[in-house]
């Protein structure tokens, strides 16, 4: 048998444990750096009904817009930069583009515009970039990073003119975009809508659903033992079980069932009901942070719930995972993180990525 067949594409899992009240805790940095979030799922064991504060947190998520055929040079327009990019909290990602096949465009909240281009587009566009970290033998993918808040790219400079003319005249790129802005005021929304009204766009609210699972075994976790050596279970097994619960895969491992051999990791205890909520859409990190605050508040109240799990999945086709770390798609493009919150504000943070991804921070 060829040795290649025994190898699997590599995956990385980084586990951290700390306390939310610890001043050196970096949970807020990790959440804010993960720019593009597709799906959030929350699992609360020993919970009957959806608590009111968590439900209101979910419903307060900001809506996102899907714009068709938006030209990329529009993201460089002076008014756009002044009113949205400079203020921060604005995210844009090209929709229906695959990172390993074609061009993908992303705008981060720090003001960086990332263009992940294939060889032909890069050579025709003529902007300065560097080859992707995940090229095989020949360089087929190039990444162009433009910092829109940088002095050299202020409207009026030569470099700005050159970039704008490349994107407008030399090779006009147009894609469908997902846009979202975490705003605290409503007047900023109007300028965005005025800009979008030139193109066909739809406004969407993240889709929320929840249901209660009955009589499921849950692993017992102790905050002090994150590696799963003595008291809790191994993080890989825990995350695998969590995925099975989210996808409604039976973990009984019955002798006559050939569909699933997943089991709940030991040590486990049976729980009469658990609440599972999911929300999907184009979700900004600030919304995730608000939800995390509500969950921390929930577990602080005296309850039977031993722990709460919050999982956030990133887009498979986004060109970056955390911050500006490049992300690729080999056989899978997962980049996700998972918080397990315990009483007295202890938490675990697992960050997982696939093959073509840098190590999470």
């Amino acid at each position: 048998m060829s040795p290649e067949l025994e190898k699997c594409p590599r995956s990385l899992l980084v586990c951290e444990k700390s306390n939310f009240l610890n001043e050196k805790s970096r949970h807020d940095i990790h959440v804010s750096k993960h720019n593009f979030n597709y799906k959030i799922s929350v699992l609360i064991p020993d919970c009957e009904a959806l608590p009111a504060n968590i439900s209101s947190a979910f419903h307060s998520f900001s809506s996102y817009y899907l714009v068709r055929e938006l030209p990329v040079y529009q993201l460089l327009e002076e008014t756009f930069i002044e009113s949205h990019v400079k203020k921060g909290n604005f995210y844009a990602l090209s929709y229906n583009t695959k990172i390993d096949e074609e061009n993908t465009i992303a705008l981060l909240s720090s003001g960086q515009l990332i263009l992940s281009l294939d060889k032909d587009t890069y050579e025709q566009l003529g902007l300065e970039g560097r080859p992707s970290l995940y090229n095989h033998k020949k360089a087929m993918r190039f990444v162009v990073t433009l910092d829109l808040t940088d002095k050299s790219l202020t409207p009026g400079t030569k470099r700005y003119q050159r970039v704008l003319s490349s994107l407008k005249d030399r090779l006009p790129l147009r894609y469908d975009f997902l846009l979202t802005k975490y705003n605290t005021g409503s007047d900023e929304d109007q300028t965005l809508i005025k800009l979008l009204s030139q193109y066909s766009y739809e406004e969407h609210k993240p889709a929320f659903s929840h249901h209660t699972l009955k009589n499921i075994p849950c692993p017992t976790l102790y905050p002090s033992d994150i590696q799963g050596k003595t008291l809790s279970c191994d993080p890989h097994h825990f995350l695998e079980w969590l995925g099975a619960v989210n996808l409604d895969i039976s973990c009984e491992n019955a002798a006559d069932s050939f569909l699933s051999t997943y089991v709940c990791p030991e040590p486990q205890s049976s729980v009469s009901q658990a609440l599972l909520c999911t929300v999907t859409g184009f979700i900004s990190p600030e919304n995730v942070f608000v939800l995390l605050q509500e969950l921390r508040q929930y577990i602080d109240e005296p309850k039977f719930t031993p722990w709460i799990s919050l999982t956030v999945h990133g887009f498979m086709d986004s060109p970056v995972s955390w911050g500006a770390t490049e992300h690729g798609f080999l056989k899978g493009g997962e980049n996700l993180y998972n918080f397990v919150c315990f009483k007295n504000q202890d938490y675990w943070l697992h960050m997982a990525t696939g093959a073509q991804d840098g190590c999470p921070p």
């Binding site: 290649e4 074609e102 294939d118 993918r141």
Partner: protein, 275 residues
């Protein structure tokens, strides 16, 4: 990496079957497919079929799943050659985007690798390889930018052919070290198509590395298309385009282009080796 392509869909006279195969390919995520007209010249009669115009098949091409652009369809010709006289590049070859040859003997394989003006050399999948692959012609083909193709539809149809496909592919990979390989379906029915990531995994069975296997369905196919485009040019640098001009001016221009064709070389091309 570039878009996923399947460069071997057997053509048939049944338009609906062709339509359903192309729809399935678009649904699986292939951005480009090539309809293959297979020709087996018997005796000395060579009847090269005229390729059906692509716009005849569909009014509106199906959109590739997960993207916003429609699928691209090309035409390809495969000559099954058991004699050197079977492969004679005529003007009729020019109407196809890609030209492939399926050599049946060792002498023809050597000639195809070193001299024939083709883009793709097909490897036997339905029978035991009648000759062994030698390093010299294979390396010569790699230098020229010619690609070797393995089809997997035969492996889906029959278990004996599955063994031959895998054995022949592994022996080819030992010689060529995973370079210049493309994998395509050879599908006659929509059910014989498989998704691009599945074919990249099949490449692992053929002892390709992970990157090489994924490239065999994407990057290498793109290189084959470019090679096919430059076949109609002079060294890949100069190409002629038909311009709608007055007949007088057209006569003036033809001597210039004839000069370029005469000096066109098959051995070294700056564009081909760069891509």
């Amino acid at each position: 990496m570039s878009v996923f392509m399947d460069l071997n869909i057997i053509s048939s006279n049944d338009k609906n079957r062709l339509k359903s195969i192309i729809e399935t390919a678009a649904h699986l995520g292939y951005s480009t497919v090539a309809i293959n007209y297979v020709v087996e010249p018997q005796q000395k009669k060579q009847e090269i079929p005229k390729p059906q115009s692509v716009s005849d098949i569909f009014d509106k091409f199906p959109i590739v799943q997960g993207k916003s652009s429609p699928i691209k369809v090309l035409n390809r010709l495969t000559i099954i050659a058991s004699d050197a006289s079977h492969f004679r590049p005529t003007n009729e070859y020019k109407s196809f985007d890609l030209v492939a040859v399926y050599p049946k003997t060792e002498k023809l394989f050597h000639a195809a690798c070193m001299t024939f003006d083709v883009d793709i050399i097909c490897i036997a999948v339905a029978e035991k390889q009648p000759f062994h692959f030698k390093r010299a012609p294979v390396n010569g083909a790699i230098d020229r930018g010619v690609f070797f193709e393995t089809c997997y539809a035969a492996a889906i149809r029959d278990t004996t052919m599955r063994r031959y496909t895998i054995a022949n592919a592994i022996s080819l990979m030992e010689v060529c070290k995973g370079k210049n390989i493309i994998m395509s379906s050879g599908a006659e029915r929509p059910l014989e198509l498989r998704g691009p990531y599945d074919i990249a995994n099949l490449g692992l069975v053929f002892s390709l590395s992970e990157g090489d296997a994924k490239a065999a369905v994407s990057t290498n196919c793109r290189a084959v298309l470019l090679h096919g485009e430059t076949r109609a040019t002079a060294s890949g640098v100069v190409y002629t385009m038909k311009k709608p001009k007055t007949p007088q001016k057209q006569e003036e221009e033809s001597p210039v282009s004839k000069k370029c064709m005469r000096c066109s070389a098959h051995s070294w091309c700056p564009v081909l080796t760069a891509t």
